[in-house]
Symmetry: none
Subunit: 413 residues, 2 copies
């Protein structure tokens, strides 16, 4: 199959360089390129400065077959992409009379005042054509010259998204040499990235499909990617590798692609006809939030209590006051008592309980910041408890403990 | 004052070029640079390819005083930033024995298997030093050579954010050419961006301090920014403008800078010696999570229940089965009953309850996806209930309802 073509994306806009907005368009465009089988080797962001935009376009054109510019197509003086595109390609801008008329009509129909500078949006590179924009006034542009392609898309999300997913995707598919790139993600919990790297090293070394790990909070995601003429053909390469990864890693592989740890847990519990209850102290409802984020959670999730104070631990869960007094709320004993109590309260098969000190002060009767306990009560009446010494800010400690609690449950199933 | 220095940001990671994740770090870094008075002229993104990373670093170093690299500092073979940084600066990597020992201890303390490649994270450029990373194993790096500066930060959010906002911000402030950019954020809830625009139009038009609004989920944040020789000097310009904004908008201004709506609520409740209880159905614990995210929440937050099923609404809150049968769980009547019940159960002054259908299927006895109710019970015995028809995916609906519930409580105080 012919050599796949390469592309670069250039986002234009000073607001991006000031960090005032997050560049989601570049990610969308990159995904579309990948799905069209065109390798995106670089992305760049440049402000509303003519010389720097031209310079950035030229550098990208010198390296890649296709350069896609995002933003800077509007009517105002700091919209410079159109002019810079022509300059970088050694082309000139021509005035599209017919489109100017369309524009005037568009303004008239909405009783908007017409200002001359709107005509700027009727200019296009001589070697280019306009991409219709049903959602705004600035059309996109595609120009082909000296074997290079430049595409420019407007910045507003409501205009960019339909164009990127629509006519630009179509154009790129035909430019993609008839191949596509497909991938599948293997989701792994409970072992670190370096350990995954050790176990899958030989797979990561191979040419195709490519196997690459990405560390997430308390998880590792391994992406298996292949290029082929069709998604089906690509999957014939990808699936056996995913199976091999699952075979090597076993239980820590909880799912694929967009499946979450909590959804994997709920499916398994539902399969077993089991139920789950929660007693959250330090996580304050965070585990419940994750569990109920899964559609249909009510089939498995009985309910939960957030017993954040000593009082509510006694009152709502009936934890023995002496136990609380003796060991303090942040203790394995109390975690176990909470799990058992909530398991009975909701007559649930499994119950998770969390207690700990997420900081910032260490005044939970002298228990240090980051010291947390997770208890898991099981249908057979047994209860397991783990101690965690977590670092980081309050937010991280709580997020990690949510993850460790769900991890504990998953690995026990 | 001397000319502020220039910087470029380089994000490293093939997953960015595939559009699989959105680059929020680059925006954070850009904002920090701006606030330190350092102009960021370009941003680039490159994949896990040694030659291209080096080439991108070199190009950036040739144009700018400071180059900041994000990602690629981990232990695996496709983490290449450390090596590329040394190569681009014409420096060599040296092994930091002491840090390797720390790492080994870190792994041992957690019973994680130690693998040799972790030693990679103990390498640093000869002309550089390590930036401590209290939240992970890969330290950041700062190297100064031939009048240029390179900074490298780890990719995981929990490690990147504290480092960027902490030691890196401090370093950049001193590098910022004697001036700093200080800003204060006015946090507003309950009115839209366009309304804020109307009311603050004249302030937004002025040169300095600059006044810029940013729309958030259910909130608007207005950033007031000024450049000066010191933070104190800048604040003398900024504070009066913030006061004026608060005077014009009133109650919807709930706080400043990093203060959250939930922390504003808890402070006000504590001031009044009041307490709060929660009964969450559709939000599944999300409001409890936000409330307990505030340090010292236990002074005000009595506790909560997550009654996700009809059964638990009856059993745990004693909601009248006839009421549930007649109106269905997604109804104003049940929301009110939940709020009253949990208020009594925890003998709390205020109680919030949520019920609704977050989708994706509309099978909650035919109640449409997005239909949700928030009830607020107050110390005077009165109960208010609001209906919300929310659009978007399950996740958005739940997040917005959390916000609306807290908003309801705040505006009633």
């Amino acid at each position: 199959m012919e050599a796949p073509r390469t592309a670069e994306i250039v986002s234009v806009g000073t607001e991006l360089l000031l960090g005032q907005i997050i560049d989601t368009h570049a990610a969308t465009m990159a995904r579309v390129l990948a799905e069209c089988g065109i390798g995106c080797q670089r992305r760049a962001t440049v402000g509303d400065n003519f010389a720097r935009i031209v310079d950035t376009f030229k550098a990208a054109l010198s390296r890649s077959d296709i350069v896609i510019a995002i933003g800077g197509l509007g009517p105002t003086n700091d919209d410079l992409t159109r002019e810079a595109m022509a300059e970088a390609m050694g082309d000139e801008l021509v005035f599209e009379e017919a489109y100017a008329e369309e524009l005037k009509a568009w303004f008239a129909a909405r009783n908007y005042t017409w200002v001359e500078r709107n005509n700027k949006q009727a200019m296009r590179p001589k070697h280019g054509r306009m991409i219709p924009n049903p959602n705004g006034t600035a059309p996109g542009l595609i120009a082909e010259k000296d074997g290079k392609v430049m595409i420019a898309l407007p910045g507003p999300k409501g205009e960019f998204d339909p164009m990127a997913e629509g006519s630009v995707r179509e154009y790129l598919q035909s430019a993609g040499g008839g191949t596509i790139i497909a991938s599948r993600t293997v989701r792994i919990c409970g072992i670190g990235e370096s350990a995954v790297d050790e176990i899958l090293g030989d797979l990561m070394a191979q040419e195709s499909p490519t196997v690459a790990p990405y560390a997430q909070t308390g998880e590792v995601h391994v992406r298996v990617t292949a290029r082929a003429r069709s998604k089906e053909e690509a999957m014939q390469e990808i699936v056996p590798v995913c199976d091999e990864i699952q075979k090597r890693l076993g239980k820590p592989v909880y799912g694929f692609d967009l499946e979450t740890l909590e959804s994997a847990i709920l499916s398994e519990l539902e399969r077993r006809g089991e139920t789950l209850a929660l007693a959250e102290s330090v996580t304050g409802g965070g585990i419940g939030r994750r569990v109920t984020g899964v559609p249909g959670a009510s089939k498995v999730f009985s309910g939960g209590v957030v017993t954040y104070t000593v009082e509510t631990k006694k009152q709502l869960l009936g934890i023995d006051p002496d136990l609380l007094a003796e060991h303090g709320p942040v203790s394995p004993e109390v975690a176990v008592a909470m799990a058992t109590a909530v398991q009975q309260k909701f007559t649930a098969g499994y119950a998770l309980a969390t207690t700990g000190n997420a900081g910032p002060t260490s005044d939970v009767d002298g228990k240090p910041v980051g010291l947390c306990y997770v208890a898991l009560a099981k249908p057979d009446g047994s209860v397991e408890v783990n101690e965690h010494k977590l670092r980081g800010i309050r937010e991280d400690i709580r997020a990690r403990l949510e993850q460790f609690a769900l991890l504990k449950l998953w690995l026990s199933l």
